[in-house]
Symmetry: C2
Subunit: 179 residues, 2 copies
Amino acid sequence: MDRRAFVGLTLVLGGCAMTATGQGQPPHSLPAEDVEAINAVIAAYERTWNASDLTGMGALYTPDIHWVNVKGMHWRGFDEVDRAHRVFFDLMFKGVPCTLEGVDSLTAIAPGVAAAVVVWRMGAFRTPDGHLAPAARNRMTLIFAKTANGWKIAHGHNIEIDEQAAPNDPIRGKRTQSS
Amino acid sequence: MDRRAFVGLTLVLGGCAMTATGQGQPPHSLPAEDVEAINAVIAAYERTWNASDLTGMGALYTPDIHWVNVKGMHWRGFDEVDRAHRVFFDLMFKGVPCTLEGVDSLTAIAPGVAAAVVVWRMGAFRTPDGHLAPAARNRMTLIFAKTANGWKIAHGHNIEIDEQAAPNDPIRGKRTQSS
């Protein structure tokens, strides 16, 4: 993502985050500076992934981060999340490109907590058992917490998008009226 | 899950939530009454699923809930999440059992916000295109926010656990020393 696109996205998301979304109590708003700071963490995640910089990636986590990966594995706390990623980079992810396709949404959950949903384009890679995993798009939930050291990732959950199933999405699928 | 197991889990999780997890600033604690209230929402989710009670399920959501389902579809806000679930219950989920296997973790993200990771056993079902999806285990992240109406689900992200990949989990896999 180039800088202009990134700044544009920041402004658009800043606008969305200010918009009321419906019934009940109004949603918490997310100040533009927080939107910018969170987008910077997402950009840092992309940069550290593509540099295989696991120390830099770990600097984006809270101490008690939890992570659910694309296979449904669940890692608990900084040490596990950091170690698991290092093992998988050594085994298969080093040099595999991961490119930010876009930030679907950035929603304030409460003061100092926000949920981002982001889509990544992952390059093909070979699994430890020799199987070739083709290029795919992943959709990732990132829960951000504002700490004394800035916005950090407190929770991640990642899934490979099933492109075959996507047309059956009742909200955005090609087979529905409303998209 | 019977009542005794549920109460036991509540106490265990209450204890865990009080435990410090490491470096940097101490994690936020989650009072026992909040742990109990969140477990009650998880139990209500199970109950409403199995009764195909979509109105009851919707009462567990915040107005600005986001949901990423097991196929990587992303629904934004109450209306989309509610409508998509109603469509899928009509098409395929009505009568398909969903049983809570356990709450992996319950972590305070900030005051009034908590992340639960839960595992469900889903029964087999037939997809709209006639394909039989076998019984499977799903791992779900649920982000809870404390609102004027109690703890509600602000974000959900669900994935089918890849049981073939599980032995390769660097942290809990059967092929690692540490499990």
